[in-house]
Symmetry: D2
Subunit: 285 residues, 4 copies
């Protein structure tokens, strides 16, 4: 990925001949320089998906004007589309509980400049990680979930909106979001589940894996929908275990694979590489 100022254009529309020509023609006609281009046709859905990164400086206008001029063409092809500007960081609100391996990993990537986002706040149902988060200069907000869970989730939704969050990351949050909240922010809530879905849905997946005697365990990064652990999968990976490993060992290996899978999936999401098609994702890596 180039670190220069770029616009990223993502499009999905009904499949037909001439889409690439129309879009790249539009860009070329204004002297636009494409640095990365990816295409995919989803056969079952007869839908076309594309993503293009264009050097901002190669165009004679800004993002706003790009959007204005592109609109007629988008309408002609019945496109769902979005143009984002690399100068404008996405805003991630991170939700955690007590376990901090994913949080530690994400915050390191953020402070080292690898994860190019703004983090307006970290929200938790426990106060344990306050000092670590605040050391980074990031506000830490403790939301009590012991007494009134529904109210707590309303507060989380309000905080997300007050902080102008683009996406919500459940970095081992350990709380099941109410369906209403899931439906309110479709494609904007990302979870890391500690199993290779669809195996071991729900609670204590490492215990389930240990009982079944599988030879690999995994983790799954997915968008949250109102059906538990059934949202579109963004990224997965597995790691080998053997008969000598206890549940504690599985949990330990699992932490590493969870970090890896969440950080990869989140990177794809942040860079507009993930397009949703029904219950599946197209990931333009």
């Amino acid at each position: 990925m180039s670190s220069r100022h770029r616009y990223t254009l993502i499009i999905s529309c009904p499949d037909r001949a001439g889409i690439i020509a129309a879009v790249s023609g539009f860009i070329a006609q204004h002297g636009g320089f494409i640095v990365e281009a990816s295409y995919h046709t989803e056969q079952d859905a007869q839908r076309f998906f594309m993503r293009q990164e264009i050097l901002a400086d190669s165009l004679p206008f800004d993002a706003e004007e790009f959007r204005r001029r592109f609109t007629p063409l988008a309408q002609e092809f019945a496109m769902s589309w979005q143009l984002s500007d690399s100068a404008q960081n996405k805003r991630l609100v991170i939700l955690v509980s007590k376990q901090d391996h994913c949080l530690n990993d994400l915050l390191h990537r953020w402070r080292s400049g690898e994860l190019l986002v703004d983090i307006p706040c970290v929200i938790s149902n426990h106060d344990d990680l306050r000092s670590f988060v605040e050391w980074h200069g990031i506000p830490f907000i403790h939301v009590d979930m012991q007494s009134d869970k529904a109210a707590a989730f309303d507060q989380i939704a309000a905080l997300f909106e007050q902080h102008h969050g683009d996406s919500m990351v459940l970095a081992r949050f350990m709380q099941i979001l109410p369906p209403s909240l899931c439906r309110r922010f479709p494609g904007r809530i990302i979870n890391i589940h500690h199993s290779f879905l669809p195996s071991f849905v729900g609670a204590k997946p490492y215990h389930q894996a240990y009982q079944r005697g599988v030879k690999l365990i995994g983790a799954t990064c997915h968008y949250v929908t109102d059906e538990l652990d059934a949202g579109p999968i963004i990224e997965q990976d597995t790691v080998r275990i053997d008969h000598g490993d206890t549940v504690d060992d599985l949990v330990r290996y699992g932490r590493d694979i969870e970090k890896t899978v969440l950080s990869r999936g989140l990177r794809y999401h942040v860079e507009d590489r993930v397009l949703v098609c029904g219950s599946k994702t197209i990931v333009f890596r």
Copy 2:
């Protein structure tokens, strides 16, 4: 693994102190030279498992006499145990349908001397692979499964016994064995399932994987029990796919992972590296 003449001793018994000392003392007392030794305690079951390879020439007696002399010690510790002799090849009966990628892989390993077994016959419900099997000098037996399935399975069991089969390998056999047959040869029937179990049990797992939008597919080598795709897992592995892959691509990638997983699992089984504990396996690689 050494290619010299060896005895392989596998043991499972209730866990307690002194088992290793007793067994290795017995071997040392007769001058036995151990070339490989593995141990495991299954905590939940409070059971101890061990496997030892001993150089046959280092002992002053043969396998028969070893078994005779070892019996009192085995009784003292309430052991389930078995001694096999590397000079005595195991006999594998292979069952196939029309797809031959696993068969092709196994027969190559066999004719190149990598898979040290005897193959008294290959049984199939189709006649397609006769020429390829017979080119190897291995008898090919066609069992008709169209008319009377129960009779066909009786015939298969009879053939297995007539050929003194030690193990039966379902190399993409595509037929569900009746529970009675599964129960008749416990721990002796090995299947390759074309998914990463417990995901996608049953028919058309690649279609199921495609529909769910997983980012990796897998294969599972397991012992067959009377519950479909639920027997103890011997070996598994996964391979990465992406949104561009069709079901046909999944099937193609799957063939490679099936071959790999079956050949590894079968090797462990043939070398007495797999010990079953309830619904799980200990694999001393």
Copy 3:
């Protein structure tokens, strides 16, 4: 990959704005339907690479006419380019020695329809694999390399041309090709080297790996150039080993990784997914 009749257009040219628009515009103008499209800019070389698969039936002319009409545009952009027709199988001449694991793997993929090529002949410096190759109905040619090596290589080159070979595959051929032969068929000779290059160049790489005590071994599929084991790499992979593995075990694991890497690399090559840029390859998977 679609199994329908397609043209595959691969292009490399100096990088500048408007290339995608020009090419996709040309295709769209004739109603061409693009089913797969990939792009890459090699920054150091300031060179642009692209590959497009177009449905043949969507165009009003054949491959010959496509090439004629495309030529002016290709000249304008100073393109190196090639259009191939999926109806026209590439012709692979396979060279082997005594070890047959790669040959066995390739021939199975060929006879099962996975590897869509013609194999006009298999050439070997030993007669051992004649029966296996001939069982497939493929001519087997034994070239004696004991007495006059230079003459033998001349004979191989002549056979390759007589059989109208497109590519030559060294499937563990174990003979070093003379530089003149390498230069005669640039980008058309594919080798599988049994190490993770650039580690362990030359002879006995598994022994070298064993001596060094590495924890993974690998294999490398590459184009042959006149510098030993230094040609552009198409595909590589590694597999974990440990201290318990002997050189024989490394050789055994190695066979599996060699097969996998060669078959993948060869597939990319056959499907025109590999474009060479200096000493490196672009692989549009």
Copy 4:
């Protein structure tokens, strides 16, 4: 791995029959309960290696007395051996430069209780990471290496000894240790090298990898000896890259594989799972 109080006994000695029996007999005779046991014979060196974990509470004496009583047996078999006590944490001194991804990873594992060691101090040739280290309550020592390098290395050696360091971890220290320092602490200095050794020894391995066009990059955790990047390898791993990845992308992927490989290798070292045999290691995972 059990979290109970254990003694870990590691042994290497000339290979001969009866070693396992003698050692396990000694342990059994005092009622010792073995929870993990591993053995290996290095054929070329004719040397035997073993590792055993024994429950401390199952023995009627402490570590000191174990050592006293075991000495005669150790002498009889000419053993190099060591008994460590899980109640006694090893002391790791970590050396870093400016890049903190490995440090961040190790400190998280330490503060979450996964890495069971004491960290008496972190030493760096830059002051950048002071705040992060001190947040953990660990002393941070800045050693100036700009003016007098030899004096700086003497200071590092002195600090290591003053802090009673057991092992020194070069967590991307980016300075080549003088041979005298390497020889002073054999088997006690651990480095993470950012390539898959023996490929790309020395400086800028990711640039070297990019130039060569390899399809995977790797990292290597090894003991430091007086020959650069040539010490015994403890752990390695690789990750796939492709033509689209820039050197910056390689560096980014590399950070993840470096963290993983260093933390695994260090864990093996800390748990006495690594035994050195010449230029190779035996790793009892």
